[in-house]
């Protein structure tokens, strides 16, 4: 069994869907998106190994320098609600201390959640890292030297 060392942690954050209701703990990553204008904004994304491509809410089209959310390459993706049309672009992100240019999909039917505006998916991004996940203790570790 190889010995794995991790330098960073993905934190879990608490979300109460209703006041005094049960808590859900979400692994969230504060990702920096470099906009078309060169400025930087931070976006909370859900760490989602089930997402093949990093996905943002459709409203972010203007940050990518687009006139509308649906002018890119149309791609069909499977979601909990069935197969959806999404549109794919390329963007530059800063994730876990690395700058990565990767595919980004815009989706106008992502469920609204105050703690995240998209999903951190596998394509290109995950190639740069190794991950270790402990379900019971809500611990998710990251190494930039996989």
């Amino acid at each position: 069994m190889p010995d794995k060392n991790f330098e960073q942690v993905v934190r879990f954050y608490e979300l109460q869907s209703v006041p005094a209701g049960p808590s859900i703990w979400l692994p969230l990553v504060d990702v920096t998106l470099i906009t078309q204008a060169g400025s930087r904004i931070n976006l909370p994304l859900l760490f989602d190994t089930g997402a093949s491509v990093t996905t943002l809410r459709a409203e972010f089209y203007s940050i990518l320098g687009l006139q509308s959310w649906d002018q890119g390459q149309k791609v069909q993706t499977s979601t909990a609600g069935g197969v959806k049309d999404v549109y794919q672009y390329v963007a530059t992100l800063e994730v876990f201390g690395k700058t990565i240019t990767c595919p980004i999909q815009l989706n106008d039917q992502l469920p609204s959640n105050p703690l995240f505006v998209g999903l951190l998916g596998r394509d290109t991004v995950f190639n740069e890292f190794g991950f270790g996940f402990w379900e019971n203790t809500h611990e998710l570790y990251v190494t930039g030297n996989p």
Partner: protein, 148 residues
């Protein structure tokens, strides 16, 4: 550049600089802003006194080097705020105030809000790396697999 306290000698240097700062002609507001910038975490007491937090080394090699990053990531770093953590802890209030709007957070404060994202982004362009999120008006419907 923020102070990085490495030894007792450094603390002496910080104190000397602090004394010079307090005897200058700067206003209290200017002095507090300067102390914020150099990371000394000033605090004004009810009696009008000024407290500053000066960090010092209590133990060298306290944590094995390979565990340092993990432990640091789990704990808040002094002088730095985790906007996502702040949002999670204050979500009930935020949802009550900004339901149906985009908000921008910066150092634990909602710096602006707007119903449309482009409008918000136009107004906060002077901030470096604000955290942007949308506060839904409707109840959160959970469709993902992570849960307690």
């Amino acid at each position: 550049m923020k102070y990085s306290i490495r030894s007792h000698q450094d603390i002496g240097e910080v104190r000397a600089n602090l004394k010079a700062m307090l005897t200058s002609s700067k206003s209290p507001e200017e002095t507090l802003e300067m102390l914020d910038k150099i990371g000394l975490e000033p605090f004004v007491t009810e009696q009008g006194g000024l407290l500053v937090k000066i960090w010092t080394i209590a133990a060298e090699d306290f944590v094995p080097r390979e565990k340092t990053a993990i432990i640091r990531a789990k704990r808040a770093t002094p002088g730095q705020s985790d906007d996502l953590d702040w949002l999670s802890k204050n979500l009930a209030v935020i949802r009550g105030q900004y339901a149906g709007e985009w908000i921008a957070l910066y150092e634990g404060t909602v710096i602006d809000h707007a119903p449309a994202l482009p409008e918000l982004l136009d107004r906060i362009s002077k901030f470096d790396r604000p955290l942007i999120t949308f506060i839904p008006a409707e109840p959160v419907t959970w469709t993902f697999t992570y849960a307690r």
